[in-house]
């Protein structure tokens, strides 16, 4: 590593967490969802989070995305400690910087594909045109369809369009292919790959699909609320070549 690389490294870190824990109080019992997570995600990195069900992946993703707050520990985005932000600060952070994609698409059923995207572009500073975002996910010809008129894969592509339309700095995806067949899943992953490459969007993907880890810069393995293993890929496999 060169010196310039090192000076860059401090600014090139997207997320940094320090001893993040999360404890859910469920009546009498406490559920330790996260038991001290320290990670650094680099700017523009494509990272995959894997691990058994209930190991805390979603919890971490939600905390990174400002949907939730850690019980203890600190979360930094760039140089800001987002774990110190209040609800209003978190809202602004999400609005400005984060795009979310979920396993069940979570489109607003009463809005068309285009309107679902508009919902986000309307409150962003420098968004793409909704039609452009939909064209990026190959849904340009379905802009006036309601979610109920779309297949699961198509809905997820609209969800991706909605997430990327505001040109977010990070894209957080919780099992984006979980509800899709492999071919459709690969299509979605290709789109994420392209967005990551072309727009330089830091992308974090939770998946149960070990194959997907091959297309990432890094694979993080989760177990019982901790990171138990990290694997850096020297060569990434294109999404197109994946199969599961």
């Amino acid at each position: 590593m060169t010196t310039s690389d090192q000076t860059d490294a401090t600014t090139a870190i997207s997320f940094r967490t320090v001893g993040v824990t999360k404890v859910y109080q469920r009546g009498e019992t406490e559920v330790h969802a996260l038991r001290g997570v320290d990670i650094e995600i680099l700017d523009g990195e494509f990272a995959v989070l894997m691990g058994p069900s209930g190991s805390g992946k979603s919890t971490l993703l939600n905390i990174l995305g400002g949907l939730d707050r850690p019980t203890a520990g600190a979360v930094f985005f760039r140089d800001r400690e987002i774990s110190a932000l209040d609800a209003k600060g978190l809202t602004i952070f999400r609005r400005a910087s984060v795009g979310f994609i979920f396993q069940f698409y979570n489109l607003i059923p009463s809005l068309t594909a285009c309107e679902n995207v508009q919902l986000v572009t309307e409150i962003s500073r420098d968004p793409m045109a909704p039609e452009e975002a939909l064209r990026l996910v190959d849904m340009g010809d379905r802009i006036d369809h309601f979610p109920s008129q779309l297949s699961g894969g198509e809905q997820q592509r609209v969800a991706v369009a909605r997430a990327i339309a505001k040109r977010p700095e990070v894209l957080l995806c919780d099992e984006p292919t979980g509800a899709l067949d492999s071919a459709t899943g690969i299509t979605v992953m290709e789109i994420l790959e392209r967005v990551n490459a072309e727009l330089g969007t830091t992308t974090l993907v939770i998946t149960h699909n070990s194959g997907i880890a091959d297309m990432a810069d890094r694979g993080l393995a989760f177990g019982d609320g901790r990171i138990v293993d990290t694997r850096t890929n020297t060569t990434k496999r294109p999404a197109r070549e994946l199969a599961w």
Binding site: N62, T91, N106
Partner: protein
């Protein structure tokens, strides 16, 4: 339009049925408020304008015969602005086509120019011409009731002579907005007429040249009525003055005030019921909406929509519903207010109607509606903003049902009872949302209560009339004499055709004083053991006539601040005008009228006169009634005849007409509430259980069976609501009777079983129809879609 607003509109479109149902309830509340406030302000404005334009007096007094030169001295009383003397007399009138003799009030009009006070408005025909002493103008109501038009004639027994009077016109007067004859409790337009004649004609007829027996005063703004009345009484005393009184005691004005009081009561009681129900409905509907859209809310938050923006979106949805309700309430209220004011104008004799719907009325009603309803929904909206984004993203955990609520308690009492799973489902659903079930039940109970407490007015008035006419005043006919007669008159009266029984009474005008309270009334002397006109309290228990003490009706006792045992200063305003202090021997509960009684013996003694009678109560053979009336019409000693049965019948007709319109409004309103509550409860239940019901269908349940699961819940809640509503209605009626306590009447708290029955039937009908509308959706349940959709 922004995407989030579009979502809002589509949400609204999807729940339009519920939105309309809620808006309907809000409209009901706003409409009642607008109607009541608008009618009150219209009537008040009309009254003020009428009184002002036609110079309604402030003080009224009568005397036997006062010289005209007293008039300037009356005008000199400090505080008096204007005076008008005239001649007034009550006479018996014979109208062609009317079997019974009618009661007429003769009033003189000045021969030169308009009266300074109590002017009349000629509606048809023309005014009186000087020199034509047989010309008469009658009040509009009397003419209409008897089909009299200009050119017709009526006969009147004037000062012992039968005179034919030619009607030249009909008129209205601020003195007779509510035209009721003295001593009566209900108006009877057929048998009571006001006859205006020229002063010259009446001066000649009653031998009152350069004299008067009636005077009205208008006061300056700063005058004290009591002081003026005291000075006036002093001036009139030597001339047989019977005591001055102010507008407060003027019967027409008092009735008008009592009617306005009733309207105010309506404005106080009804709208809160509606708005309370609307607030509750909005709360549960929006709460449900937030629940079903929690993931959407989560997504919005995830993408950076602020809590305020999300709260505002849902609030806008609430406001849209509320505004729709408020605006339709405005329209409905304006329409009903117009109708009601028209009814009142018909009922009262106003020559014109100021239908003033002040913008403030709409503003007040609108603001009250918005505040109440939106306030109710705020709770649910706050829940939307409070949802933590991460939590909102997860589907709600499966609803936790309790085992115990599945009718288990029933089985502990009846162990062998088998409860079908479907029944368990519906019982558990009720128990799962106890607050909502309770509120749904309460909403329907309010619908029942609204009906009970408004239809109760019919029962109350019937009871009031029944108490008055069948229990207290049981005579068929009451006659009064032009002058007090000796007791021997009883033989004359008893000999009249068809008279089965007769009782004499003596009535004298008195002023009663107790502390600083004072009141002009007729003190009636009745005989011990009198059977026709009895003293009975509301519980039908006869009241013994104390030998020397006064008996006061409860409302009079209240006006005087007196009770049994108090001592009252009695100032007789007739004959030798004795004054005496008498104890109150008993207070009798009566619903109508302010009356005072004394034993006739004691009254004779008080008056220092030989036993005398002012009139008689008669029990009459109905078959010979016609002949009796004919004879009475021709008997000069008779001044007035009142016939109980006919009075009652005409009053019923009036009540049915005015209150009938009101009653149909209430039925409409109560149905609106019931529909609003049931429709919303049904739709909510359906949306929560669509999956469950669809699963049952997949398992092979019939439509009827799943309808049972869905509607059984509503039926059960309705069943609970009915008795609750009756109780609540009784409570509201009790509040109304306690509040509606004017000087003129009190309402008895009587609710007939039929009223409860009818109220419940209306609500059951509304509930059934609404349930069927909801049930129709069950048939359209898309089994595949429902099962595929994620919870």
């Amino acid at each position: 339009m922004t995407a989030i607003n579009r979502k809002l509109l589509r949400d609204l479109g999807r729940m339009r049925g519920q939105a309309v149902a809620i808006a309907l309830v809000i409209a009901g509340g706003v409409a009642t408020l607008v109607t009541a406030l608008g009618t009150i302000s219209s009537l008040e404005d009309t009254r003020t304008a009428f009184y002002q334009r036609y110079r309604f007096a402030h003080i009224f007094a009568r005397a036997r015969r006062a010289p005209q030169h007293l008039a300037p001295r009356i005008a000199d009383i400090p505080g008096v602005m204007r005076t008008q003397t005239r001649i007034a007399h009550d006479v018996l009138v014979d109208v062609a086509g009317l079997a019974e003799p009618a009661r007429g009030r003769l009033l003189s009009l000045p021969t030169d120019g308009r009266p300074a006070l109590n002017d009349i408005v000629v509606r048809t025909g023309r005014g009186l011409r000087t020199g034509h002493v047989d010309e008469v103008i009658v009040n509009v109501r009397f003419a209409e009731a008897n089909d009299l038009v200009a050119g017709d004639t009526v006969s009147a027994n004037i000062n012992g002579k039968r005179r034919r009077l030619r009607i030249v016109g009909t008129a209205l007067s601020p003195e007779f907005v509510y035209a009721i004859s003295p001593g009566e409790v209900v108006p009877d337009n057929r048998r009571f007429g006001v006859l205006w004649m020229s002063r010259t004609a009446l001066e000649a007829a009653f031998d009152l040249k350069s004299a008067f027996n009636d005077v009205s005063l208008a006061l300056r703004r700063d005058a004290v009525a009591e002081d003026v009345v005291a000075r006036l009484d002093d001036l009139l005393e030597p001339f047989g003055g019977t005591g001055g009184y102010s507008r407060r005691e003027h019967v027409s004005d008092a009735f008008l005030r009592s009617e306005l009081e009733q309207l105010r009561l309506m404005a106080r009681v009804l709208p809160p019921i509606f708005l309370g129900v609307a607030a509750f409905l909005l709360n549960i509907v929006v709460a449900r909406l937030v629940e079903t859209e929690r993931e959407q809310i989560g997504i919005l938050k995830a993408f950076g929509y602020s809590n305020a923006a999300i709260g505002w979106t849902y609030l806008k949805l609430v406001l849209a519903i509320v505004l729709a309700g408020v605006v339709s309430g405005w329209i409905l209220g304006a329409w009903m207010g117009h109708g009601m004011t028209g009814l009142y104008a018909d009922y009262f004799g106003f020559p014109f109607l100021r239908y003033t719907m002040a913008p403030s009325v709409f503003a007040i009603a609108g603001a009250v509606g918005i505040l109440a309803a939106a306030g109710g929904a705020l709770f649910a909206v706050r829940r939307a903003t409070r949802l933590a984004p991460a939590v909102a993203m997860q589907p709600p955990p499966p609803t936790i049902y309790g085992r115990s609520s599945g009718g288990g308690f029933l089985q502990t009492f009846v162990p062998q009872m088998r409860i079908r799973p479907a029944t368990r489902m519906l019982l558990r659903h009720i128990a799962r949302w106890p607050a909502r079930s309770l509120l749904t039940c309460a909403g329907m109970a309010f619908a029942v209560a609204l009906l009970v407490s408004s239809l109760f007015f019919f029962d109350a008035i019937d009871e009031m009339m029944d108490a008055f006419f069948s229990r207290t005043q049981r005579q068929d006919v009451t006659i009064s004499f032009t002058e007090p007669r000796s007791e021997n008159v009883l033989y004359e009266v008893a000999a009249l055709p068809g008279v089965l029984a007769a009782e004499l009474y003596r009535a004298v005008p008195v002023r009663l004083r107790h502390g600083h309270h004072s009141r002009l009334v007729a003190l009636t002397g009745i005989d011990e053991g009198a059977d026709l006109s009895r003293l009975v309290d509301v519980h039908d228990a006869p009241v013994a006539l104390p030998p020397a003490g006064l008996v006061l009706t409860s409302s009079l006792a209240k006006l005087l601040g007196a009770g049994a045992g108090s001592t009252i200063d009695v100032e007789v305003l007739e004959g030798s005008r004795p004054t005496r202090t008498l104890p109150v021997g008993a207070v009798v509960e009566e619903f109508v009228g302010t009356a005072a009684y004394l034993s006739r013996g004691a009254l004779t003694e008080l008056m220092r006169e030989s036993p005398a009678a002012s009139g008689a109560h008669l029990l009459v053979d109905p078959l010979t009634q016609r002949r009796l009336f004919q004879q009475l019409k021709a008997t000069p000693l008779v001044q007035s005849v009142s016939v109980q049965g006919t009075t009652l019948a005409t009053f019923r007709a009036i009540v049915d007409e005015t209150m009938g319109a009101m009653a149909s409004f209430y039925v409409l309103f109560a149905s609106m509430i019931a529909i609003g509550v049931v429709y919303n409860a049904g739709r909510l239940s359906l949306s929560e259980r669509a999956r469950e019901l669809a699963s049952l269908r997949v398992l092979g349940f019939t439509l009827g069976e799943i309808a049972y699961v869905l509607l059984g819940e509503l039926a059960l809640l309705t069943l609970l609501a009915l008795p609750l509503g009756c109780l609540l209605g009784y409570g509201i009626a009790a509040y109304l009777t306690a509040s509606f306590d004017t000087e003129l009447m009190r309402l008895p708290l009587v609710i007939l079983p039929a009223t409860y029955g009818y109220s419940m039937l209306v609500v059951i009908a509304a509930t059934t129809v609404t349930s069927l509308v909801v049930a129709r959706r069950l048939a359209r349940l898309d089994l595949v879609a429902v099962l595929k959709a994620r919870e």
